[in-house]
Structure formats: C-alpha cells, structure tokens
C-alpha cells in the first residue's frame, strides 16, 4: 500500500514537472516573450477581450505574450507580479497603472533593467511618462467626454446633465468636464453625484430635470447610471425627446440604441489596449528603435493590424507619442457588429 502511494506520488510529481516544462509555447519560433500584467481579479470578464487581443497580436507579430493578474485583485500581489516580470527578464512589459503609488517602485525596477514598458488602461499619460514608459494606451477621460460633447454640439446641444454614479473616483469628473467644455456649459452646475443605488439615481435625475426644465441632454457615465436615468426619462415622458449618451455598453443600452432613445455609447475599445502595446513592443525589438513616430507608422502600415481593425470595426486615435484606444462610438450603424463580437473582441 505504501509502495503504491509512493509510486503514485512520483507519477503525479513527474506529471506536474512535465506539464510545467512542456506548457504552451504554441509552435511559434518566438524567442521574444512579453508579459501583460493587469489589476483585474480572475472573476473580471471585461479583461477577456484584452486576453484575446494579446493572443492575436502575438500570432500576427510572431511573439509570445503571457497574461498575469493578481487572482484576488489585490494590488499588493500585482506589485509582486511586476517585480517578478523584472526578475524574469521579459523582452517587454505591458502594465495597467491601477494605482500609481503602489506600482511606482516595481515599474521603475523594470525600467531600470532596460526592459521597455508600455502602460495601458487606467492611469494617465503624465503618469506613464513619469514612470519612464514608452507610451500609454488608454482612453483619456477628458478627451472621451470632449469627443462626445463635440458630437452633441453638432446636434445643437447647449445644456446637459452629467449623471455621475462613481464620484469616489476623481477622474470620473473629467468626463463631465470634457463634455461641458465642448458644448460650452458650466460643468459644476451640470454634474450630479448620484451614488450607485439605482433608486437614488432615478429620483435624483428626475428631481434635477424638474428643477432644470431647459436641460437638453443627458450624459451617463456607465450602465449603472444610464439604466436608472433612462427609466426616469421614461416616467417623465422625456425618453427619446432628450439627447442621451452614455459610457460603456450593456443589454439595456443596446436596446436603447436600437429604439433611438440612446444616441450612442462611448466605448474605450479594450481590444486595442491589448493589441497595440504588444505590436509596438514587437516592432520596437525588431527595428531596434524606440522612436514612437517610426513605430506608429510601421504599425499603421501593418496589413494584419488593419485587417483586425476592419474585422472588429475599431478605430484608434494616434497621438505624437501615446495612442488612445477610445473614445469609440457605438451607434445604430455599428451596433450589430459590436454585439456579434461583444465579450470576445469588443
């Protein structure tokens, strides 16, 4: 019995060792290995799009990319993963700036080892530059609000209500400010801190609209504020009469876009936050340059990249150094395509 136990144990052990060594480096002659470190816990499905994106970018540019995340979403664990990436001497590191103060030291350690870093998703372009990263790929909050505001201005909007359900994050106000400055409104008077409770959102929105009957438009900062706001509008008989836009997509918002009560949803196009950093790192290693203008030109010229953009209906916004993954707009015209790829590539 004991002998059997012993044998079984060694079988299990050798199987583990074998699996660990033989684990997927899927057939590619890839000697370049990058890593993308996110702050999301395992349960966060939003990052699935980014996981798919790095896989496809790896195929297109013939590199291998690991995806790492703290399984509980604990940023202290994430910091250890970044240090680990430095110790492993990856050829490039892609990391989200989930919290500047926590990740500063570990990211600087990666930079100190001359490993190129690209930051994505949360954090600002300034923080990215301060950390010594090559570039940042994200959706600048102000620009996203401003872009939506310009569309509203074209539709003749001069006043609006910004429904902010997560005022605890200071960057949320940037979205309202961008929109307000695009249409020339006072953002402080137009912003409502509603909290996350749907009933509270609904009653606060209807109270605001009763007090300010001249309001022409509503901007919601996400499904949590958009859905109760739409319900408030419906009860007041204003649905489809007020100009309505929101950040991010959900099923209710998709229905709103279909029936015309929602003009568009602002999408930060996460696929690009996975694909572009990997592509840029691969090109930078290949061409042995960190010159962003050269690298961006090469990226734009890549037929494989263009094919992916066309297939999924994505459009990045190129800057001199940083690339913005959004805002992208989901309207009635491209809704079907977005819904087809939702959760996978959109």
């Amino acid at each position: 019995m004991q002998r059997y136990g012993c044998k079984g144990l060694f079988a299990a052990l050798s199987a583990t060792a074998l699996l660990l060594t033989a684990a997927p480096s899927p057939g590619l002659a890839a000697n370049e290995r990058f890593v993308l470190i996110s702050h999301a816990p395992d349960s966060d499905s939003w990052w699935n799009t980014i996981k798919n994106a790095i896989k496809q970018a790896g195929e297109d540019f013939d590199v291998s990319v690991d995806y790492r995340n703290p399984s509980n979403g604990d940023l202290a664990d994430m910091a250890r993963l970044v240090e680990q990436a430095a110790a492993r001497n990856y050829n490039g590191v892609v990391v989200s700036i989930a919290d500047f103060s926590v990740l500063k030291k570990p990211i600087e350690m990666v930079v100190a080892k001359n490993i190129p870093v690209i930051t994505i998703n949360s954090g600002t372009q300034q923080q990215s530059e301060q950390l010594g990263a090559l570039m940042h790929v994200g959706q600048p909050e102000y620009d996203a609000g401003f872009g939506a505001g310009q569309k509203a201005k074209a539709a003749g909007i001069k006043s609006f209500l910004c429904v902010n359900h997560y005022a605890t994050n200071p960057s949320s106000f940037e979205r309202c400010r961008g929109f307000a400055e695009a249409i020339g409104a006072d953002y402080k008077k137009s912003t409502l801190d509603t909290g996350i409770d749907p009933n509270a959102v609904e009653s606060k929105v209807s109270a605001y609209l009763r007090n300010n009957p001249g309001t022409q438009a509503v901007l919601a900062l996400g499904p949590d504020s958009a859905v109760p706001s739409l319900r408030a509008l419906q009860k007041m008989g204003l649905k489809s009469k007020l100009w309505f836009a929101t950040f991010d997509l959900s099923e209710d918002i998709a229905n709103g876009i279909k029936d015309g009560s929602v003009q568009f949803a602002i999408d930060q196009q996460p696929y690009l936050q996975g694909y572009i950093p990997v592509a840029i790192l691969a090109l930078s290693r290949q061409l042995k340059t960190n010159d962003m203008s050269v690298l961006q030109e090469k990226l734009k010229a890549s037929p494989k990249f263009q094919a992916r953009l066309a297939e999924y209906g994505l459009a990045p916004i190129y800057g001199p150094r940083h690339i913005s993954s959004g805002p992208g707009y989901i309207t009635r015209d491209n809704l079907d395509k977005v819904l087809k790829y939702a959760g996978q590539y959109r």
Binding site: Q2, L13, A76, A86, S101, K113
Partner: protein, 379 residues
Amino acid sequence: MNTTELLARHRLPGPHADGDERMRRESLVSRLLGRPEFASLAGAILVFIVFALSAGDSGMFNLDGVINWMQVAAYLGIIAVGACLLMIGGEFDLSIGSMIGFAGMMVAIPTVYFGWPFWLAVLFAFAGSMLLGWLNGYLVMKTRLPSFIVTLAFLFILRGLTLALSILFANRTIVSGVGERAAHDWLGQLLFTGNVGTGLFSWLARHGWIATVNGGAPLVAGIPKVILWWALVALAASFVLARTRLGNWIFAVGGDAVAAKNMGVPVRQVKIGLFVFTAFCACLFAVLQVADFGSAAADRGLQKEFEAIIAAVIGGALLTGGYGSVIGACFGALIFGVVQIGITYTNLSSDWFRVFLGVMLLVAVLFNNFVRRRITEAK
C-alpha cells in the same frame, strides 16, 4: 533487594535487553527525520527541484528573483507563525485576512486624514488589532462556540468595517500617501521601510559580484525588512514553543483542554493570548505592507487566512490541535510563496494558475504526509 541485584536483573536477556527504549541513543539522521518540520522541509526541497527543472534558467533563482519570492513567503510566513501557534493551541482564526485590511486602514487613515505621526498610528493599529484579537478569544472562551464560527463572523465584520470606515473618513477605498510619511518617521525608518544591508549590497555591486543597473547601483538595494521580521517572529515563537513553560501550555491546551485545566494550566488565558498574538502577526503584516506600498486598501489581505492555515498545515500542524511546528509552518509559507511566484516563471497560461497551485499544494501535502507516516511507523 539491593542495588546490585537490581542491576543484575536488568542485565538478564529479555524484551528490554538493550535497556530502556526511551534511553536509546538515536543516530543524527533518525533524530532529524523524527522532527515534525522535516516533512515540510522535504516538501520545500521537492518544490525547489520542480522549479529548478522547469524554470531554472528563467531568472527565478537570480538575486532579484529570490528576493521577490522571499518577500511573498515572508509576508505569508509572519501570519503563518501566528496561525500555527493558534492551531497548536486548538483554535482557528479566520479573521486574519480581514484583520490585515482593517489594521492597514488603522495605520493609513490617521496618518493621512487626522495628521497623526506615523509612529503613533502604528502603535494605535497594534493596540486596536490586539484588542480585537482579545475580543475574538474572549468570545470564543465565553460562549464556548467553535472559534471557526466566531472568527468567521469577524471575517465579515472587519472586512465590512474596513470598507465602510474608509468610505466614511476618506471617501475612497485606497488610501495612498503613507509612503513618504513612513519613510521620514523615526519608527517607520527604523523598523518598517526600506532595506537592510544596503552598504553591503552596494559594496558587492562595486566589485561586480551582484547585478547592477544603469548607474552602477545594485539591482537589489538590500534585504527587505519583512524578511528579517519573518525570521525574528519565527525564531521567537519557536523558542517559546520548544523551551518555555508557555510552550508546553500551548501544546497542552491544544491536546486536551480539560486535562490541561485539571493540571492547573490557565487554559483561558493561554488561548486568549494566542488570539492576541495572531492579531499581532496580522497587524505586523499590514504595517509592513502599508510602509512598503505607501497605501492601504479595503481589499488588502483577501483570503490570506486560508493561505496562513494552509502553510501551517503543510508545515505539519494538525487541524485538531496539539501538534505542529513553527519552523514547519515557515517552510509551508516558503512552499506557498515559491509555488505562487514560481508558476509565473513557467510558460503556463494564467487561466490554469489556480489548478496548478492546488495540484502543487496537494502534492506537497501528500508527500509531507507520506514522509511523516513513514517516520512515525518506522519508530
């Protein structure tokens, strides 16, 4: 019967021909094998072999790689020591992880929002956590409910309080800005922030014996203080356990509390003291982490209670109490840290991460159990 006769009788051939078995001299090897921590030492060696084979050339065993996983092991090791003593004493604490989050906030909120000096906030956090640990122990002893249930309640209460109070005082769930204050505070500087042996490391770097970065500065500035804290807590706890009356009491209350009480052991005080010590370890974890990262967050320490208990169990502690070893728990923490970080050095997809973590832990525990059984049967 005189003494000579007695000795003569003893020399007669019979079942005890070699003399009393308790007086038998054991070889060094068999004495080593008999220690409770040997099994987890063997498990740790096994895990190192697996990773040396699968990730040996990946930088995992370079200096910066070693410091990286040693830190993970050290943080876990600190709470594993507390959990281990408590388990030997026959009780559980499931509120360790929540205590870490709560203690972190007790340091961060007063420093950042009330303008307290860092040292005062640290003392406040230690006092607060140990009081909560006392409350845990008091409730367990008073109600005679299983500690599993009582501390499970505190798992939720403390996690909830961490979130609610951080929103109340700071209106956010991550409180940053502690790092600077800790680094310029005498207590923080002395005990919690930075590294030890920076002089030695830069001397080694100047001679080119360790890796350097751009300016010639050493890549690894020194040994993080958390590793020394781990060693200190582990040595102190194993000394107490092995060499003092208190150590005997801990084994006694965990083995059979009623018998211990009849023998005159202050069962209640010992158990409550162990809860306080566990809370102390959780708070030490939190203070070191806050000083290291410069911030506290409402989700810090999530599920650490399970990791601490796993480390103690790998280290040979019995879930039923009365048996275990602090050094074993430290090897348990080392195994956990090496596996957790080591997996990221292999080319595994992170989707499989938890599966392999679980398999590796199972293999380590089985191996460990197998070694222990062989030893105890061979005796």
